[in-house]
C-alpha cells in the first residue's frame, strides 16, 4: 500500500462516452497512484471496459480528459497510450488467430534490426520465452504455432505476455481470470505482486470479489456509467461493495447460493438422463465415463487444458469421439451432429461466446431466438408477435442490459453478451444442459440470476453438467464434482466431502498444493 496517495500517476477527469442511445460513461473521474493495485468494480454494462478502452486509446471519449503525471494524454490514440506506459489485457481475447504467439506479442512494436527494416526474430524468440517463463506457461504450448489453435485460456496468456512485453507503468487487466483456473490465477497473482513491487500500477477489473479483496489496495465502483465511490479496500467489506455496485441491498452470491444448496436434501435417485461411457478423443481426453441424473447438477473442475470443454463439445456433437458412447435418456447418440443433440434436447452453453455462442452482428433478439426459430412460426413464417413475446420475457428474466432488442449483440457489454448465450439455451428448456464457463465475466447479481435459473430448471428435472474454472461456483452449485486432469477423470467428490483443497489436489498433476487464490485473502 503506497503511503503517498498525493503523488498521482494517472488522473481520469469527467470522461463521458455514449454509444448511440447508450450512455456507457457519464462524467467519471478517478485517480491511480504509482505501485497500487486498483480494483474497478461494477455490474455488467457499468462502463468498466469502456473506460479501459478510453485509457488504452482504442475509444475516443465524447468529453473529459486523461492526465498522465499531470500532462494531458492524447486520447483515442493507441500509440500515445502505449508511449505513456499503459498496457492492456482486454476482456475479449483479441489475438490474431493465424499468427504465432511471437507475432501476436510483438506486432505493432516489433523489435527491428538493419536500420529498422527487418524483424529481429532472434530477439522476439528470446523475449517471448522469457515472458512465458514469467507466466509459468513456458512449455504449455508452442509459441510458433498459430494461436487460433490454443484454448481460450492459453490465448489469454498470450494476451498477458503481449501486455508485459513493453515495460509498462500501468497494467490494465479486464477480467483476466474469467477463463483461468486456480493454477494460472495463482501464477497471475504472484506476477501482479512482483509488478507492484517494481512500482507498476495495476488497474484490475473483476467480478470475482474474493480476488478484489485478495489483491487490491483501493477499489473504485461504477454503476450505470457513473462513478459511485473509491474506497481503500481494507476499509470496506463484501456486502458493502456489492451494495455499492448494485445500488440496493443484496446478500452475497456465495451466501445466497449456500442457502439454496443447503435447503436441498439428497434427492431420490432418479434415472440418469446423460450417460457417458469410456468416451475418448485422442487429441484431448481419454476414456471419460460418468452420468448425470435428472435434477442433478454435476460440476466439472480442472485446470485449463484438462479437456473439459472438449468433452462438452463431443457430447454436443460438435466433434466426433474416437471411441466410447454418449447415451441420452437411455438412447445412444450417433454423435457428430449438433442437430441430433439438440433434437434429443441436449444444450451447450459454449466457452467462447464471441465465436461459438453468439452471432455478434445480429440483433439481440435474433440471437435469443436463433436456436428455436421453428417453434416461433405460423404457417412456416416467423411470427414477430411470438418472437417479441419470447424476447421480452428472456431479457426481463436475465436482466439483459441493452438499448433495445434490435441492437447488434456486439454492442452489449461482455457480461450481457454472456447472458444472451445462457438465455438462448434456457429458452429451449433442454433436458440435458451443459454449461461451459457459464458465468465468465458475469457480475454478482447476474451470476445469481443465472445460478437461480439453472437451479430452478434442475429442480424441474433437468440434468446439468457445469464446467467452470470458478471453484467457489462449482462447489456451491454442484451435487457432485468431477475433477479432470490431463484429459482423464482424476476423481469424483460428493458435495459434502468437496473442498477447494481436495479438488485442487486432484486437479493438479502430482501436486497436492493447498490454498486456492480465493482463500489467499
Amino acid at each position: 500500500m503506497p503511503d503517498a496517495l498525493e503523488q498521482i500517476f494517472i488522473e481520469v477527469r469527467d470522461i463521458s462516452k455514449a454509444y448511440g442511445g447508450v450512455q456507457a460513461l457519464s462524467g467519471v473521474s478517478m485517480t491511480i497512484v504509482p505501485g497500487e493495485v486498483h480494483a474497478l468494480c461494477g455490474e455488467n454494462g457499468a462502463g468498466k471496459s469502456t473506460l479501459i478502452k478510453v485509457l488504452s486509446g482504442s475509444v475516443t471519449p465524447d468529453a473529459g480528459a486523461v492526465l498522465v503525471n499531470r500532462t494531458p494524454l492524447r486520447v483515442g490514440d493507441v500509440a500515445a497510450s502505449e508511449r505513456a506506459g499503459i498496457a492492456v489485457i482486454h476482456q475479449e481475447s483479441v489475438a490474431f488467430p493465424h499468427l504465432s504467439a511471437f507475432d501476436n506479442i510483438f506486432v505493432g512494436r516489433e523489435p527491428r534490426k538493419l536500420g529498422g527494416l527487418m524483424l529481429d526474430r532472434a530477439r522476439m524468440c528470446r523475449e517471448t520465452r522469457a515472458l512465458l517463463e514469467r507466466l509459468g506457461e513456458a512449455d504449455a504450448f508452442d509459441p510458433a504455432a498459430p494461436v487460433g489453435g490454443l484454448s481460450v485460456a492459453q490465448r489469454q496468456m498470450v494476451g498477458m505476455a503481449r501486455a508485459l512485453s513493453h515495460d509498462c507503468r500501468l497494467l490494465i487487466m479486464d477480467e483476466p481470470t474469467a477463463s483461468l483456473s486456480e493454477r494460472e490465477t495463482r501464477v497471475l497473482f504472484n506476477l501482479i505482486r512482483q509488478l507492484k513491487q517494481s512500482g507498476v500500477s495495476i488497474l484490475y477489473v473483476s467480478h470475482r470479489l474474493d480476488e478484489v479483496f485478495a489483491l487490491s489496495d483501493r477499489v473504485t465502483v461504477f454503476r450505470d456509467g457513473k462513478f459511485v465511490a473509491t474506497h481503500v479496500t481494507r476499509e470496506i467489506d463484501k456486502e458493502k461493495l456489492i451494495q455499492l455496485m448494485v445500488g440496493r441491498e443484496l446478500i452475497s452470491t456465495d451466501a445466497r447460493l449456500s442457502d439454496t444448496s443447503f435447503s436441498r436434501g439428497v434427492h431420490p435417485a432418479r434415472p440418469p438422463l446423460l450417460e457417458v461411457r469410456n468416451l475418448t478423443r485422442a487429441s484431448a481426453f481419454r476414456d471419460v465415463s460418468f452420468d448425470v441424473r435428472a435434477g442433478e447438477i454435476v460440476g466439472v473442475a480442472g485446470l485449463v487444458g484438462a479437456g473439459r470443454s472438449e468433452v462438452a463439445r463431443v457430447i454436443f456433437g460438435v466433434d466426433r469421439a474416437d471411441s466410447g458412447e454418449v447415451i441420452v435418456d437411455g438412447k445412444r447418440l450417433a454423435g457428430g451432429s449438433v442437430r441430433e443433440a439438440i433434437e434429443r434436447e441436449v444444450a451447450l452453453v459454449p466457452e467462447d461466446r464471441q465465436h461459438l455462442g453468439l452471432v455478434l452482428q445480429l440483433a439481440v433478439a435474433a440471437n435469443l431466438t436463433l436456436a428455436k426459430l421453428n417453434s416461433l412460426t405460423t404457417l412456416g413464417l416467423i411470427s414477430s408477435r411470438k418472437e417479441r413475446a419470447l424476447v421480452a420475457e428472456l431479457m426481463k428474466s436475465l436482466h439483459v442490459k441493452a438499448a433495445s432488442p434490435a441492437v447488434a449483440a456486439q454492442t452489449l457489454s461482455g457480461g450481457n453478451q454472456q447472458k444472451l448465450v445462457v438465455g438462448k439455451w434456457l429458452a429451449s428448456r433442454p433436458r440435458v444442459l451443459i454449461l461451459d464457463e457459464p458465468t465468465r465475466g458475469v457480475d454478482v447479481a447476474a451470476k445469481a440470476d443465472v445460478h437461480r435459473l439453472v437451479r430452478e430448471l434442475a429442480d424441474q428435472g433437468m440434468a446439468t453438467l457445469l464446467i467452470s474454472s470458478d471453484l467457489p461456483e462449482v462447489l456451491a452449485m454442484s451435487d457432485r464434482i468431477l475433477v479432470m486432469r490431463g484429459g482423464r477423470i482424476a476423481g469424483e467428490l460428493s458435495r459434502d466431502e468437496a473442498t477447494q483443497e481436495k479438488v485442487l489436489a486432484l486437479a493438479i498433476p502430482g501436486g497436492s498444493e493447498t490454498a486456492g487464490a480465493g482463500a489467499a485473502a
Partner: protein, 340 residues
C-alpha cells in the same frame, strides 16, 4: 506462413522454406507439379528441354509478378479482380505513348508514365476500399468492367503495330541468356518473400487480415496497410505489362482479358486463404506454374485435335484436384470450423 516464425534468423531461410513446404498447401501443389512433369516426360521426352521450361516460365511471369501483389491484398482480407483490365489499359497507354503514330514520347518517359498510371489506379482502388468503404470486390469488379471499356475507346478499333525496339527489348531481350521477364519475376518474388516474412510491415499485413479489430487495438491502421497492398498490386501490374506485352509486336485492346481469373486462381490454389490472414508467396508462385503448365502439357501429350475440346474441362479438373489433395492431406481438428 506464420510457421516461418520458427526460423529464428532469416539466415536459415532455406530450412524455413523446406519446413514450410512440408507443412502447407504448397506441398500438395509442388507434388502435383512434379508428378505431372514425370508423367508427361514419360509420354514425350521432348518435354524435358530448357526451351520448353523457359517458355512455360516466361508465360507464367506476368501472373507470378501480379500474384505477389495480389497475395498481399488477399491476405489483408480484400481482393482485386481488376488486374486484367488494368493490364490492358497499361499496355495501350504504353503503346500509344511510345508509338510514332501517336504521342511518340521517348521510351523511358512512356514507361514511367505507364507505371505511374498503373500505380495510381491501384491507389485509387485502395482509396475507394478504405476511405470510400466500398467492398474491394465491388470496387475492382467495377474497375474490371470500366477499364476494359476505356481501353476499347482509347484504341478505337485500331492496333498499335509500330512498337519501338527500345520497348520490344523488355519483352524479348535477355541478360546472361535469361529473359528480362524472368529476372524481373525473380526480383519481385524474392522481395515479396522478404517483405512477407522478415519485415514489420509484412507481419502487419498478416495481422490486419487475421483480425482487423485486434489490429486496431494493437495500434495498427488497417486502412493504411490495405492501401499499401492495393497500390503495390497496381504497380506490379505495370511491371508485368512492361515485361510481357512487348514480347509481341502488336498491341491490341484485348490484352489481359481474363488475366484476373488466372491470377486469383493461382493465388488461392497456392494456399492463400481467401478470408485473409494466411498465405505465402511461394505458394502463389507454385500455383502460377501449375496452372501455366496445363496448356503446354496437353500439347505435349499429343492427344490430337479431338482432345482440344476437353482442354478447359481438364484445366478445371486440375484445380479441383490440387485443392482436393490438399484437403485430404490435412488433418482437421478443433478451431478448424471455418473454410480452409
Amino acid at each position: 506462413m506464420t510457421t516461418l516464425a520458427r526460423t529464428e534468423s532469416p539466415g536459415i531461410a532455406i530450412l524455413g522454406l523446406l519446413k514450410q513446404l512440408a507443412r502447407q498447401r504448397e506441398w500438395s501443389v509442388a507434388a502435383l507439379i512434379a508428378l505431372t512433369i514425370v508423367i508427361v516426360a514419360i509420354v514425350n521426352r521432348d518435354f524435358l528441354s530448357l526451351d520448353v521450361a523457359r517458355n512455360i516460365l516466361v508465360a507464367a511471369a506476368p501472373a507470378a509478378i501480379v500474384g505477389c501483389g495480389l497475395t498481399f491484398v488477399i491476405v489483408t482480407g480484400e481482393i482485386d479482380i481488376s488486374v486484367g483490365s488494368l493490364m490492358g489499359l497499361c499496355a495501350v497507354a504504353m503503346g500509344q505513348l511510345a508509338s510514332p503514330s501517336y504521342a511518340n514520347l521517348p521510351v523511358p518517359a512512356a514507361i514511367g508514365l505507364m507505371l505511374l498510371l498503373a500505380t495510381s489506379v491501384g491507389f485509387l482502388n485502395g482509396l475507394l476500399v478504405t476511405v470510400g468503404r466500398v467492398p474491394s470486390i465491388i470496387v475492382t469488379l467495377g474497375m474490371l468492367t470500366a477499364l476494359r471499356g476505356a481501353t476499347e475507346l482509347l484504341m478505337n478499333g485500331r492496333w498499335i503495330t509500330d512498337l519501338s525496339p527500345g520497348l520490344r527489348f523488355f519483352g524479348t531481350g535477355t541478360f546472361l541468356r535469361v529473359p528480362i521477364s524472368l529476372w524481373t519475376t525473380g526480383v519481385v518474388v524474392m522481395a515479396s518473400i522478404v517483405l512477407a516474412r522478415d519485415t514489420p510491415l509484412g507481419r502487419r499485413i498478416y495481422a490486419v487480415g487475421s483480425s482487423p479489430s485486434a489490429a486496431r487495438l494493437a495500434g495498427l491502421s488497417p486502412n493504411r496497410i490495405k492501401l499499401f497492398a492495393f497500390t503495390l498490386t497496381g504497380f506490379l501490374v505495370g511491371v508485368a505489362t512492361l515485361v510481357s506485352v512487348p514480347q509481341l509486336s502488336t498491341i491490341e485492346s484485348g490484352i489481359g482479358a481474363g488475366f484476373e481469373l488466372v491470377v486469383v486462381t493461382a493465388v488461392v490454389v497456392g494456399g492463400t486463404s481467401i478470408s485473409g490472414g494466411k498465405g505465402a508467396i511461394i505458394g502463389t508462385l507454385l500455383g502460377v506454374i501449375l496452372l501455366g503448365m496445363v496448356r503446354t502439357v496437353l500439347i505435349f501429350l499429343k492427344l490430337g485435335p479431338a482432345a482440344t475440346y476437353w482442354e478447359r474441362a481438364i484445366q478445371g479438373g486440375f484445380i479441383l484436384l490440387a485443392v482436393l489433395i490438399d484437403h485430404l492431406s490435412r488433418p482437421r481438428g478443433r478451431g478448424e470450423e471455418e473454410h480452409a
